[in-house]
Amino acid sequence: MNLYEYMGKEIFRKYGIPVPDGYVVESASGVKKFDKPVVIKSQILLGGRGKSGGIKFAKSQADLDSGVKELLGSKIRNLTVSKVLVEEMLDIKKEIYVSIALNRAERVPMVIASSSGGVEIESVPEDKIFKTLVDPLIGYSDYIGREATNFLKLEPAIAAQFRAILSNLYRVFEKEDCELVEINPLVITGSGKLVAADAKVVMDSDSMFRHKEISIVDTEKTPLELEAQGKGYSFVELDGNIGVIANGAGLTMATLDALTLHKGKPRNFLDLGGTDNVDTVVNAFELVMKADPKAILVNIFGGVTKCDTVANGIVAAKDRLKISKPIVVRLSGVHEDEGRAILKNDGIEAFSTMLPAIERVAQIAGGN
């Protein structure tokens, strides 16, 4: 779960990581008296805000007022700017990079640092990047900071600040259950101070039960995805025309893959999960219908999720939601025969394997 820059910086401040002086503005009336040059930064969860015009500079009250007005409410790649961060302009002498991320392969946190900051770390040559793994049973040790500053060849006064920041950044990573904490750029100012000019904090959404103070609407999600999340479904909007309901993330992905290989265009990913509840099925249909598909494919391999329950759900959804779009169903596994009988009764044919169901729905929706 991505945090807005300003939220990341609030956390940094709490953990003793220096950030620029600044404040968040949600309406033009929130602008304070101009007293020094500032940067006005759109609070959206996208890289490359600057290039998209989402960042403005102000050297006067007039600049500031107009900049805030222009940005608030503007659209950047489909995202509406509802907050801007007004921050002191830093006297940038040099930009460096530091982050801590999960290393999936080794299943440990990894510290990454480079003296090339301000650009995407992926674009920096490997031999210019310091990387080291951290033992999760031990946590951060100070020597890691010494190794990093040694690699970056920072002068002693800067190196000491860097080590303090890295140590605190690790605390953020650990205590706030982060997938990624990144400072890019970490600015060395003209007066020799290190300041986090940006803040990227991605928290593990599975950890939210112990971070009740954090509440964020994930703007990387569409409104329908957010609605689905609220209802407990794994749901991803795609740009095709076949609504998909399946059970299990892997099977659902496989269904999308097979559809795509058959020139079908899925409208969504929806994992029904393991359920034995008719309403869970009906609610899934409701979500999918909101995406206005041309046809709907239901692909169930019954286990914990019983085929007859799903069949009852399909019938109930058709009825309650007045669905007239074609529904193609595949049922296999637990209570498959009962399910097929229920659907037949309602005029729906249920295939017992995936292939014919996929061929059928791809053909129906083909005229897109």
């Binding site: 299943r107 049973l137 794994s234 299990g248 992905m253």
Partner: protein
Amino acid sequence: MSVLVDKNTRVIVQGITGHQGSFHAGEMIKFGTKVVAGVSPGKGGSKFQSLDVYDTVAEAMKLSPNATMISVPAPYVKDAAFEAIDHGIKIVYILTEHVPFHDTMEIVHQARRKGITLIGPNGPGITSPFLCKIGIMPNQIFKEGDVAVASRSGTLTYEIVEAITRNGFGESTVIGLGGDPVVGLTFIDVLKMFEEDEKTKKIVLVGEIGGNNEERAAEYIKKHVSKKVVAYITGRSAPPGKRMGHAGAIIEKGVGTAESKIKAFNSAGVKVADYPWDIPGLLR
């Protein structure tokens, strides 16, 4: 022979009085698994079928369990796992999904330190028909045989196992690694076991987008696996940056694409099925 579990596996279920715990414990018993006790804090002294339920793993140790299924809410998983690990239970399977990965990291490394095999979290478990099943795979899809399956998914695994069985094959051991970015077993871990297992003749890997578990497995297969390996990778059509249901199924900054995984497997001589139902054909 089988991998990790067999007729001598004695299983406890931590969280046996919960909805999932009780259902799957019942199914495991039906499958023939030696479930020896349940653990549910606060429910000590009660019964699950004919089994005693204890408040603590410590008490259940008198039944000499060597495996556990943990089915407790995500916030309590770390504690339950440490409880099992500290009492030396050799196989710890975590059914629960949505475990914070910081917790899982600690569990993974503590398990490794103590020589314990961690399966999951957020996977369907392990099944060796019909010696032992720990987890949630449907009982009826299995037949004893020589095909070993390792998978990052749940239902998709059943789909494939069912197809294997329907096509006249059978399974030696089926292991679900789990759909989280951090899980106990890697494909390499299970490939090692499958390669050593006398009963296993052929191996099926079911991968998905996210991470580089499959790419590393492909490298390993080149060097160390003599048995036939076939694979299926799901998520070919997934857009980058989106989590496809599993917390681990996400293409990030170009890492973890299906293409990369398919290419890696092909270069290791592993045939990759286009569709799940093509797997049995590749096994012939």
